[in-house]
Amino acid sequence: MNAYLMPLTGGVLLGLSAMWLLLSLGRIAGISGIAWGSLAGPERVWRTLFLMGLLLGGLLTHNVMGQPVPAESTAPLWLIVTSGLLVGLGTRMGGGCTSGHGVCGLGRRSPRSLVATLTFMTLGVITVFVMQSLMGASA
């Protein structure tokens, strides 16, 4: 089987998920916004249901279809904490993440989302490059 069939299939499902939410409820499938809104409101109900569905989808993949579970991150916990803080702060400040700006925003031809997506992709690449250089070739 083609190695890129699964990533492509998964990607199409992400797109269809976003399109169903837009068609049914008129909402953007942006996970950072949904996650924060499920705690802070308003309209916590649909957001909470979305997140329950998210976990259910993961269960289907690993427990029903039997796809292997990815290994745990090898990053030290201080790095995980720093990363989480920056992701939370940055996604609320910038109004979206990979899903809201990337998947949904690019589909809506939003200039803000294009700028945001190019910015976070670039910074992601630079960050990995810097971390690799700091940790040496072994990492």
Binding site: G15, L49, L54, G95
Partner: protein
Amino acid sequence: MRAWPALISGVLFGLGLTLSGMSDPAKVLGFLNITGAWIPDLIFVMGGAVVVTFLITPLVTAREAPLLASAFSLPGKQLLDRRLVGGAVLFGIGWGLSGYCPGPALVSLLYGYESTVVFCLAMFAGMALEGPLGRLLAPS
């Protein structure tokens, strides 16, 4: 507003994240590592998703209203500002440090790993800090 359609959307999203490999931080870091042992998978994930949304979004928003809500709730902002770019910079750095963005991190809670639980707690703390800190970093 009815809420049940969000459950279906969530299931599709969870399936998409886990089947595509997005919930594997090593794969995500491999994708961002363009000068090293590059893993191209995420091109297909993002590509597949964006082709679908790019083609279908205009057909959906051409409707007067969604099927089960009275109106579309779309972001109205048009202008680029420091908050948008500053936020994307911080998010990009955070993403590159661990390989987790919000969706994959949340679905990975299923795996019961300490690092994903810690990441999600830190992420929510970062979101809560945005009010006071965001104004400090990028006054609008």
